[in-house]
């Protein structure tokens, strides 16, 4: 499998990951990337640092399952999925998903599918430093809804 799936504390270089996707991508003219950053404002309050906890033994297997499920639905060239853990400051990169495909729509769908499942099934938990102390981030209903739309895909 040429895919790259990593859980790491280190930052990543988006441009280098894009170049890795582009390598040998002659048959796959569409490249879509998503990056998620630490925001300064979340769920109505100011945020300082973020701490990302995970379940080490399970996290990577979970991400691999998500990528495998995406590959079962569409044809992709290469997929790169990187998620950081540990302490992250405002503006830092949290997650990268990028992939290549012969078809533009498949590429967009694939990255969104991976993000929607990651947001609802991969064992990561965010704790924010706020002016009122540390605070575990609550799960978002909109993420669950985004995830559920893939179940209904066949009816569309």
């Amino acid at each position: 499998m040429q895919d790259v799936i990593e859980v790491q504390t280190e930052d990543f270089n988006q441009g280098a990951l894009y170049d890795a996707l582009r390598q040998d991508s002659l048959a796959n003219g569409a490249i879509v990337t998503f990056s998620g950053l630490v925001r300064d404002f979340n769920q109505g309050h100011e945020v300082g640092d973020l701490f990302l906890e995970h379940y080490p033994a399970m996290t990577k297997a979970s991400l691999l399952n998500i990528v495998t499920a995406a590959r079962a639905r569409w044809h992709f060239g290469k997929i790169i999925l990187i998620h950081r853990v540990g302490r992250l400051a405002q503006g830092e990169q949290i997650v990268f998903v990028g992939l290549t495909s012969a078809h533009r729509k498949d590429a967009f769908d694939g990255v969104q599918f991976i993000m929607d499942y990651l947001k609802t099934e991969a064992p990561f938990w965010k704790k924010e430093s706020t002016s009122e102390g540390d605070k575990w981030v609550a799960a978002n209903v909109s993420d669950t809804q985004a995830r559920l739309r893939w179940d209904k895909q066949d009816e569309m």
Partner: protein, 81 residues
């Protein structure tokens, strides 16, 4: 023996990251009852509908069957990405 792990806010609520359970529990539901007897103050958190469970790193539910040596993790809804 069953190794029980807690993550996220649940870890703060039960005030420990893990606990070993020596008593036999045939399912996740049974294990929750056992934990609730051992630590009555945990009942409220473990019976919360939103709490998820993974058995040997795979998502399960109250009916998932347990065997000696299993690793069971309880955690709140995930918030990565």
């Amino acid at each position: 023996m069953i190794q029980v792990l807690f993550f996220g806010q649940l870890k703060d609520q039960v005030k420990m990251p893990s606990v070993k359970v020596e008593e036999a529990a045939t399912s996740v539901g049974e294990l929750k009852k056992t934990l609730g007897v051992m630590h009555p103050q945990w009942q409220h958190y473990l019976t919360n509908d939103s709490i998820l469970v993974a058995v040997n790193k795979t998502i399960g539910n109250d009916q998932t069957v347990l065997s000696d040596g299993d690793e069971v993790a309880f955690f709140p809804p995930v918030t990565g990405g």
